[in-house]
């Protein structure tokens, strides 16, 4: 029967290839020295920026191949919605990608717990390419689960034709200027920077638990008051914010740095970029976005080495600088890079915004991911005035108190 013969041939072929692999014949040029890299395409990054990012990373892979002719990096991109499904499909076949570039570290712990990733060990020399304050939040139970590639900041974007300067203070936001239309988000990040402006620490530090229900209450009352203003709109999706500014429905929004390119395409020189308004307790501290490498759990030892080599290659000063200058919307993680802040005003704003930002640990991300719906519900209760802010503040405070503390620096 031909099927049986075919199957025998197939099995023989695969066994031969397997034998070659285990005998080290895979060290021959290109055979066995290919890594599969998956790029997560977040819906929060618009398609224009996604295309730019893909092109840049492909160029990086080509450059890597040029310098390492016997090794090959193969790219695929998968949307955030399909990432888990895709990983599940591949993992069930023993083919989990060797590297996954996550849009943020938010899902890293979840994916690790599902068995898709494996920790990576970095030597002291290798760690020099990354600041400790970036590596530490990507650790879990003493293991390095991810390695950062670049940082994304949250800032204020506005249309200069109608709003010459970004509001400096949260109270300024409540004062309507002629025809101004502002938009805010009820997402975790959207609520976070407002809360921090009122002195509410969203992410507790180790050993510090603070009861700041009064500050939470003040923040929620501000949100409630803002919602009463005819020139302020609250939206539930970040994408809605970006599209609103591009289409001229909103004149000021809190925005991610990765939106700048596409917004500049629409608004041109009229796009203004500034820091988020400070609150009565100090500067706003938005969540920092860190695009993170995750190492696949089913790679061969050769592929694992190659994956790490590529991650370190992407993290070296030259590539980081190239990436920053080409994209102009992300911030390098390599501390050795001297930033041309004077030449690039947007970069300068991003720099300050990032200094103000906070980076949650993997556990904190995991916790807030689980509580995302609850936070949205509480925010809506405040906005809809269906609950007294005092009651909501209590629930909010309870929620914040139970957030895991950040891991101490090693």
């Amino acid at each position: 029967m031909i099927c049986r013969q075919g199957l025998v041939i197939l099995l023989a072929l695969s066994s031969a290839i397997s034998a070659c692999g285990s005998l080290g014949i895979s060290r021959l040029p290109a055979v066995g020295n290919t890594i599969n890299v998956v790029l997560e395409l977040s819906p929060q990054v618009d398609s224009f920026e996604q295309a730019r990012l893909k092109t840049l990373l492909e160029q990086e892979a080509i450059e890597f191949n040029r310098l390492n002719p016997h090794q090959r990096v193969r790219w695929h991109s998968v949307s955030s919605e399909r990432l888990q499904q895709d990983l599940k499909f591949r993992a069930a076949r023993g083919l989990t990608p060797d590297l996954i570039l996550l849009a943020s570290s938010r899902d890293l712990l979840t994916l690790h717990q599902q068995g898709f990733s494996t920790p990576v060990e970095l030597s002291l020399e290798e760690k020099r390419s990354f600041p400790a304050w970036l590596l530490t939040p990507l650790r879990y139970r003493g293991e390095q689960l991810g390695v950062p590639l670049f940082m994304v900041s949250t800032m204020a974007c506005f249309d200069r034709r109608r709003i010459p300067f970004s509001p400096q203070d949260l109270s300024d936001l409540l004062r309507p200027e002629d025809g101004s239309a502002l938009a805010l988000s009820t997402s975790l990040n959207g609520m976070n920077w407002i809360l921090t402006g009122f002195g509410v620490p969203l992410l507790p530090l180790p050993g510090r638990r603070s009861n700041r229900q009064s500050q939470v209450l003040l923040a929620l009352r501000w949100v409630q008051q803002a919602n009463l203003q005819p020139h302020i709109t609250f939206v539930s999706s970040e994408e809605e914010l970006r599209r609103g500014l591009a289409e001229g429905r909103f004149l000021w929004i809190p925005c991610s740095s990765v939106w700048i390119s596409s917004l500049r395409q629409t608004l041109g020189a009229n796009l203004g970029v500034g820091l988020l308004p400070a609150g009565p307790a100090g500067v706003a501290k938005p969540l920092m976005g860190v695009s993170t490498w995750m190492f696949g759990s089913q790679s061969s030892p050769t592929q694992r080495k190659l994956a790490k080599k590529f991650v370190l290659f992407a993290g070296n000063a030259v590539n980081q600088r190239t990436m920053m200058l080409r994209l102009g919307t992300v911030f390098p993680v390599n501390p050795a890079i001297l930033l041309p802040l004077n030449a690039y005003p947007t970069l300068s704003v991003m720099d300050v915004a990032l200094r103000n930002s906070i980076l949650p640990t993997l556990e904190q991300h995991h916790y807030f991911k689980l509580k995302d719906e609850q936070i949205g519900l509480l925010a809506n209760q405040v906005l809809a005035r269906s609950q007294d802010p005092l009651a909501v503040a209590h629930d909010f405070q309870h929620l914040l108190e139970n957030a895991p503390a950040a891991e101490a620096q090693p």
């Binding site: 193969r74 083919l95 089913q298 592929q303």
Partner: protein, 432 residues
């Protein structure tokens, strides 16, 4: 092309993963186990329980070892899944092998409805290549994105290019449309035959016409789906037109002739024709297949298949025994009897003899005739009708033998030529 090589290398790289090796290793072990079990159990040779009672079990015997192998694979995959949670490649092999087995089962069942020759042809030309294509593409899609592979540009024609997917669709698609259209065409024709009670040759002609139609529609759909540039089709069409004027003229002429013959019904599969056989007289031949270029005829005399270009039937006249009226053929044996026998008795004997030969039709009845008075004997002919025109020569021999036996029994003489010489008495100058 480099890109294709990279795809192969990428695929090979996946085989260095432990989880992948484990799955293929488990399948290899399952195969080894099956080999031992197969030689111990001898399932295909041994007598099965209930085999006498249910004859169809005998037909399933060739599948026994395959089923055992599938069971070994399935158990190995299930064990792997339970032990490691990673077994989808192994499970894919199990599913694919089940598909192979199902196809074998389908072919066995098809033997109940179609001739073995047709089933065998479908198996070799359609089922097996199709399984290979399904197996390879599905296996590849377990490892990588098949669409990405199919999107690789393999041929560049000016500004246009042809992707691997389009190329495969054009080549494999055309092949499968041509090969795969046979059974559906036969099925539809069989339905038409049942509804309209048409003859077998007409059924074959309809089947062929439907097949051409399916191939034409399939080819158009393939062209549309492959995204072939219309300008390119026009260019190829232009080239074809020039080609038709020169080398392709004969091919095209034969193709059109074949279509015309089918439509007209002058020559259809199953018909019996008389074909000139190079100085050896005429031999009846049966039309086996009316192809795109040529018609295949079967000659009974020496059991050869003649491939006759279709246009031959247009350029030369043909004698057919299975034309518009009926398929009966009239045969004749000529015999002589001495003058001393009464023609009425001889004719009656000839008619009775012809009637007694099997395969000679009773209606129309055999007819004896007195053809003429010869020098030595009276010439008679016995004419009879037969159902199968291909039996003409064989039956003529049988009738001849029967006549000889009857003449011997009834003492009817078949005289040798007799000449009576007379010596002239008064030839002038004889005694001079």
């Amino acid at each position: 092309m480099n890109q294709l090589l990279y795809f192969v290398l990428d695929l090979l790289a996946d085989f260095t993963r432990v989880a992948v090796l484990r799955q293929f290793g488990a399948m290899g072990l399952a195969f080894g186990l099956w080999f031992i079990l197969k030689s111990q159990l001898k399932l295909e040779r041994r007598r099965w329980l209930g085999e006498g009672r249910w004859p169809f079990l005998k037909r399933l015997k060739p599948l026994a070892n395959a089923a055992l192998l599938w069971l070994c694979f399935a158990l190995a995959a299930a064990w792997l899944l339970a032990a490691t949670g990673v077994a989808d490649l192994a499970r894919y092999l199990v599913r694919f092998y089940a598909l192979c087995m199902l196809s074998r089962l389908g072919l066995i069942l098809l033997l109940n409805y179609l001739p073995a020759k047709v089933v065998q042809r479908e198996d070799l030309q359609l089922v097996r290549p199709l399984l290979v294509v399904i197996g390879v593409t599905r296996l590849y899609s377990q490892f990588a994105d098949l669409n990405e592979l199919l999107a690789i540009q393999v041929i560049a024609l000016g500004k246009d290019s042809l992707s691997l997917g389009a190329l495969l669709l054009l080549s494999l698609g055309t092949y499968f449309v041509i090969v795969g259209s046979e059974l559906p065409a036969m099925g539809i024709a069989a339905l038409i035959r049942r509804v309209f009670t048409i003859s077998m040759p007409a059924y074959r002609a309809i089947s062929m016409l439907i097949r051409y139609l399916l191939v034409a529609v399939g080819f158009l759909l393939i062209l549309a789906n492959a995204g072939v540039n219309q300008a390119l089709i026009a260019a190829v069409g232009g080239g074809l037109s020039v080609g038709l004027g020169f080398g392709l003229k004969e091919i095209f002429s034969n193709f059109i002739s074949g279509l015309w013959l089918l439509l007209e019904g002058a020559v259809r599969p199953g018909d019996v024709l008389l074909l000139e056989s190079g100085g050896n007289g005429e031999d009846p031949c049966e039309v086996l297949e009316l192809g795109m270029r040529a018609t295949v005829l079967w000659r009974d005399r020496d059991n050869v298949e003649l491939v006759v270009p279709n246009q031959t039937f247009f350029t030369q006249s043909m004698v057919t025994y299975s034309g518009l009226r009926d398929r009966y053929r009239r045969g004749q044996v000529v015999v002589q009897a001495a003058y001393r026998h009464s023609p009425r008795i001889v004719i009656a004997l000839l008619e009775d003899t012809a009637r007694s030969v099997p395969r000679i039709l009773a209606h129309p009845a055999p007819k004896g005739l007195l053809l003429g008075y010869g020098d030595s004997a009276i010439t008679y002919a016995i004419r009879y009708w037969i159902e199968n025109p291909m039996d003409g020569i064989g039956l003529a021999s049988e009738v001849g033998i029967a006549i000889w036996e009857v003449f011997e029994r009834e003492e009817i003489e078949i005289p040798y030529p007799q000449y009576v010489w007379h010596q002239a008495e008064d030839v002038p100058g004889k005694n001079a």
